[in-house]
């Protein structure tokens, strides 16, 4: 995958929506629970219904790991299904990994080579040698946590190191790392002002933005401050889409919700001249 291919797909679909596939047995439609693999069935139906409106899918590994080996089988089946049927769609392993060098290499092998995701989210806390093993993979993307939208972002990310916030320090430092062109950043949608400042530091990198909608982020503001000449944004929505319905028509309901978001995004794209 390349950012050019991603950009082309954004223009084709008039969308920069990412759907988060976070399957939770206690929330999904009960008629699926008797399936051989309820999680994969849930994901497959969601993908079939929502793919016209989305350019990316994000699989949060926690929801699969919580189900043990069965969960990993569902994860593997889902990413295979995506790669085989929708190779143009950008895939994200939302794994928030990061460890010393040789261990990060193992994680990179797990998600980039074995599972064949296009990208992975990583935590920057351990610094350069915890992230560079991911960046070493060509045409794969490493999405560094910069400024998240949760309460705890105040504890460290928003504090100040040498006059700069921690999240800005993370971004500046990461630009010095080898293959920094393979970086993207996680920035919460509720932080519109900070998105503006981040865009000045990384004019060309893609931002993965959770938190639009229910969590309070405004799509308009995010676009106003975050768009670049390749759009440069992936807006994630998980629960609002995948649990839009809870009956046999859950996938249709999810598609309706995705379509609404896509329509808003189309307006933003048009107003920005794309």
């Amino acid at each position: 995958m390349t950012t050019n291919l991603l950009f082309n797909n954004i223009l084709l679909k008039n969308s920069f929506l990412c759907v988060g596939l976070d399957p939770d047995l206690s929330k999904m439609p009960t008629h699926l629970l008797s399936c051989d693999d309820p999680v994969f069935e849930f994901n497959k139906q969601l993908i079939k219904a929502t793919h016209p409106y989305t350019v990316a899918y994000k699989l949060n590994t926690a929801f699969y790991e919580a189900l043990g080996i069965k969960g990993w089988i569902s994860l593997e089946k889902t990413i295979k299904y995506l790669n085989q049927n929708y190779p143009e769609i950008f895939t994200i392993a939302d794994a928030k990994r990061g460890d010393i060098g040789n261990t990060s290499t193992k994680y990179a092998e797990a998600f980039f080579s074995a599972l064949n995701f296009h990208s992975i989210t990583v935590s920057p806390y351990m610094g350069i040698d915890s992230v560079e093993p991911f960046l070493a993979f060509e045409d794969k993307f490493t999405i560094v946590l910069a400024l998240t939208s949760n309460t705890g972002s105040k504890n460290f990310q928003e504090k100040t190191i040498d006059g700069k916030s921690v999240f800005k320090t993370v971004i500046y430092e990461s630009l010095q790392w080898k293959n920094s062109q393979n970086l993207m950043y996680v920035v919460g949608a509720t932080k519109a002002t900070e998105i503006k400042e981040i865009r000045k530091i990384v004019p060309n990198h893609f931002l993965l933005i959770p938190g639009v909608g229910a969590q309070g982020g405004s799509l308009k503001d995010v676009c106003l401050y975050g768009m670049n000449n390749q759009v440069g944004l992936l807006i994630n929505s998980s629960r609002e889409i995948i649990y839009a319905g809870n009956e046999s028509d859950f996938a249709e309901k999810a598609a309706q919700k995705a379509k609404l978001l896509q329509a808003e995004m189309k307006q933003e794209l048009i107003s920005k001249g794309f």
Copy 2:
């Protein structure tokens, strides 16, 4: 598991050694590769041989994830084997997880409930609500990355927020979190001076210390600065022990290496009056 039980086991075995089970197919004895489950066989033989000298085993999830579903099966079999045969031994999922609240809950369920590890390592970057879901589990421990021994620790951990280093800020903040008695901290063995300072902030918490030996950390210095009245240290060694040999006697070689480290630890315990 409780710290009292851990302390008792330390006194019983005269050891505060943790063995890191980081199986790598390219490094393990070739005669194991024809086994049905080489990774589990490798781990089982290592555990059988080294358990008299160790009070903890640490499984780094990256090495299992890199093998896909097979790796997760080996991980599950290994933790089951440990819990069934050596329930007094402290187990660590070295997973370095951390995400927003509901997602961290899923990770906690995965490692504490489903797999039944006694503890997990977590990254503090996302703050309070990314760690508290782990702390909510009674008699389970959450081992927060504080100061690691890798090169990248300089990028953020050793920088200064309001006159305090980032890793100290992490420790101070974490003490405000609910159930902070369930915390432990990762501190690299190469940072003896900092261990002294950290001990002042957390006199009662256990520290998980990688990096003694090959990576340059001194056991003597770590004990001098890090021991508290419950010993309060778990010193991890992975590669030096598990790859001490590469032939059919690999487990015996690993046990010899573990025994040497245990003997050094016994001397330290005696000299500190335990």
